[in-house]
C-alpha cells in the first residue's frame, strides 16, 4: 500500500486492511506478499505489478477494479500460475500457485467464454472432468448439476454458436464449477455483455456464490458491478500496477438488485470512485 496516488487513499487503504483482518470470515486462501512482476518488452521493462500485498479469506468475494494496465488481470493470472512473479511471495491454499494448479484448486473464467466450438454445451462442461479423469457416470451427474446451477438445463446438446453471448458465458462458468475447486477466478467475465444481461448474470452469480461457499476473485472495470458483488473491493492503479485501496463492503450478503439505489451502496461506490481517481495519474488523463 505504499506510494499511493494521494495521502487520502493511503489512509483508506490502511483502514481497509485493518477492517479486513477484523472481519475475515475464514482462513486465508490466497496470500500475496510484496508481489512484483516486471515484463521485459522491446520498449523496456513494464511494471505490471509493484509491491502488491493482500490476503483473501475463505468464502470472500473479492473484486479487483482499476483502469486498464493496472495489473488486475496480471494479478489473477499470477494466482492461477499463468504468469510468474519476478519478486515477492504468493501462496494459494497454503502452497505455491503451481502446486495449487496441479491440485486443481481453482476454476478460471476468462473474458471470452472460450467454449470449444466442436463440443456441445454438455461436452464443454465435461471437458475439465474428462481431463481430470472423472468416471462417465460422475461426469454425467456433474454436468447436469452445474448446468442447472447456471440455468442452462435443456441446452445440453446445443453447440455454442446456437447460444447467446450471455448463455455462452454462463456455460463457461458451469465449466469452471464442474469440478470441486473451491476458488473461482473470474477475469472480466461479463465485460463483453450488454448491461441488462450483465445485471441478470450478476444476480445469478451472487446466488451461486451463496449456494456454493466458494472463494471468488473477480476482475472488473465496472464500479457498480464491483460494489454489488463483493465483500471486498481492491482498487488498483496503473504504471506501476499497484493496490491503492481495499474497501470492505458493509452491504448485507443478501443483495437484491435494487440495493444499488440505497445510500449505503452509493457511498461505497463513491469511495471506489475516489480511490480510482486518486490512483489515476493526471498527466495521461
Amino acid at each position: 500500500m505504499r506510494s499511493a496516488g494521494s495521502r487520502g487513499a493511503d489512509e483508506s487503504a490502511e483502514e481497509g486492511v485493518a477492517l479486513n483482518t477484523a472481519s475475515s470470515r475464514g482462513q486465508p486462501v490466497i496470500r500475496a506478499d510484496h508481489l512484483d512482476l516486471t515484463f521485459q518488452t522491446g520498449d523496456g521493462p513494464v511494471h505490471a505489478l509493484s509491491d502488491v500485498s493482500l490476503t483473501i479469506g475463505k468464502g470472500d468475494f473479492v473484486s479487483f477494479i482499476g483502469p486498464s494496465g493496472c495489473g488486475k488481470t496480471t494479478l489473477l493470472r499470477v494466482i492461477a500460475d499463468l504468469e510468474q512473479p519476478t519478486g515477492g511471495q504468493i501462496s494459494v491454499n497454503g502452497v505455491s500457485p503451481e502446486q495449487a494448479r496441479l491440485n486443481r484448486a481453482y476454476g478460471y473464467v476468462f473474458q471470452a467464454a472460450g467454449l470449444y466450438p466442436w463440443r456441445t454445451i454438455a461436452r464443454n462442461v465435461a471437458l475439465p472432468l474428462e481431463i481430470m479423469g472423472y468416471s462417465k457416470a460422475e461426469r454425467h451427474e456433474r454436468v447436469a448439476r452445474t448446468l442447472e446451477l447456471v440455468n442452462l438445463t435443456g441446452f445440453e446438446n446445443k453447440f455454442p454458436w446456437q447460444l447467446s453471448g450471455g448463455m455462452q458465458q454462463r456455460a463457461s462458468i458451469a465449466r469452471a464449477l464442474a469440478f470441486d475447486a473451491d476458488i473461482l477466478l473470474m477475469d472480466e467475465p461479463f465485460g463483453a455483455l450488454d448491461e441488462i444481461v450483465r445485471d441478470h448474470l450478476n444476480e445469478q452469480l451472487l446466488q451461486l456464490w451463496a449456494r456454493t461457499t466458494k472463494t471468488i476473485a473477480f476482475v472488473t472495470h465496472s464500479i457498480p458491478e464491483a460494489v454489488y458483488l463483493s465483500t471486498r473491493i481492491v482498487v488498483m492503479s496503473p504504471r506501476p500496477g499497484r493496490v491503492t485501496d481495499v474497501i470492505e463492503s458493509t452491504l448485507p450478503r443478501d443483495r437484491p438488485l435494487d440495493i444499488r439505489e440505497t445510500p449505503e451502496f452509493l457511498e461505497i461506490a463513491h469511495r471506489v470512485r475516489e480511490g480510482l481517481r486518486a490512483g489515476h495519474s493526471y498527466e495521461d488523463a
Partner: protein
C-alpha cells in the same frame, strides 16, 4: 453440387468447350490446307471446319474426338484389356491412393513432431521446404531406378513419389492448424493442468480439422500428378502416365488428350471426395451450417 453451383459450372464448361472448338479449327488449319493443296481440290469454309475436326493426328483434337476415344476405351473395352482406360486409370489411382495415404500420415506425424519439439521445428522444417524445391521430374526417374535395383517395382515406387509430393501440403497445413488454438484456449488447458497429450487430443487435433482437409485436397490432387510422373520413366508399361508417353511416341494426340481428360476427371472426383469427407466431419463437429 447443388446450392446454385450447377449453372455457373455448366457455363464455364460450355465456355471451355467453345474455346476448345475454336482452337481446334485454328491450330489444325495449316495442316488441312496442305492436304487440300496436295490433293488439288477446292474447299469451302464449312469443309475446312468439318475436316479440321476429323483429322487422324491433329495438333489439337476436337472435344468430340476425345469424347469418342474415351467412350471407346472405357465403355467398349473390357476393364482387363490393356487398351482400356479404366484399366490404366485404376493402375494410376491405386498408386495415387497409396501415396496419398502415406503422404498424409507422414505429413501429420511430421507436423506433430514439429509443433511439440523445438529441435524438430528447427531441424526438419528447412528440409521439408528444401525437398519441394527439387523438380519432381528430375528426382522421379532416380527413385524408380534405385528402387528397381533393390527389387522394388510396380505400385510402391510410384506411390513413394506421390508421398514425396503430398506430404508437403499436409505438413505445412497441419503445423499451422495445430498451432491455431488461441491463447485463451491453451490457458484454459493449463488451468486444468492438462497433459501434453490431453492438449493434443482435446484441443489441437480437433481444432486443426479444417486445416487437415484443406491440405488433403491439395495433397490428393498432387498425389495423382506424382503417380503419373512416376509412370513416365518405367518405359510406358501401364497407367495414365504410360498412355501419355505412348501417345506422344506415336503422335497419338487423341490418346494423349483422352488420358489427360481422364486424369483431370479423376483428380476432380478425388478432390470432391476429400471435400465431402471434410464436410461430413465438420457437420459432425457442429460447425455452423
Amino acid at each position: 453440387m447443388g446450392g446454385g453451383k450447377t449453372i455457373p459450372i455448366l457455363v464455364v464448361v460450355a465456355a471451355i468447350i467453345g474455346i476448345w472448338y475454336a482452337a481446334t479449327v485454328w491450330l489444325n488449319t495449316p495442316w488441312q490446307l496442305g492436304v487440300y493443296e496436295r490433293e488439288g481440290r477446292d474447299w469451302t469454309a464449312s469443309d475446312l471446319i468439318v475436316d479440321t475436326m476429323a483429322q487422324e493426328r491433329p495438333v489439337l483434337p476436337s472435344p468430340h474426338q476425345v469424347a469418342v476415344e474415351i467412350w471407346q476405351t472405357t465403355a467398349e473395352k473390357k476393364v482387363t484389356s490393356k487398351r482400356s482406360l479404366v484399366y490404366h486409370a485404376w493402375i494410376t489411382l491405386s498408386a495415387t491412393l497409396a501415396g496419398f495415404a502415406m503422404g498424409t500420415v507422414l505429413g501429420v506425424v511430421l507436423a506433430v513432431a514439429i509443433v511439440h519439439n523445438r529441435a524438430t521445428d528447427r531441424s526438419v522444417m528447412p528440409w521439408v521446404i528444401a525437398s519441394q524445391t527439387i523438380p519432381i521430374l528430375a528426382i522421379a526417374p532416380m527413385i524408380i531406378v534405385v528402387l528397381n535395383a533393390v527389387g522394388l517395382s510396380g505400385l510402391l515406387p510410384k506411390a513413394l513419389i506421390s508421398t514425396y509430393l503430398s506430404f508437403f501440403p499436409v505438413v505445412v497445413g497441419m503445423v499451422k492448424g495445430l498451432r491455431a488454438p488461441e491463447a485463451i484456449q491453451l490457458d484454459l488447458m493449463r488451468t486444468y493442468s492438462a497433459s501434453t497429450s490431453q492438449v493434443f487430443w482435446k484441443l489441437r487435433w480437433p481444432h486443426s480439422m479444417p486445416y487437415l482437409f484443406a491440405s488433403m485436397k491439395v495433397a490428393v490432387a498432387i498425389s495423382l500428378v506424382g503417380a503419373i510422373v512416376g509412370e513416365l520413366p518405367t518405359g510406358a508399361v501401364a497407367g495414365l502416365g504410360a498412355r501419355l508417353l505412348a501417345g506422344s511416341y506415336y503422335g497419338q494426340t487423341v490418346q494423349i488428350w483422352s488420358a489427360l481428360i481422364v486424369a483431370a476427371l479423376l483428380a476432380s472426383v478425388l478432390v470432391t471426395l476429400v471435400g465431402a469427407a471434410g464436410g461430413y466431419v465438420s457437420r459432425r463437429m457442429g460447425v455452423r451450417p
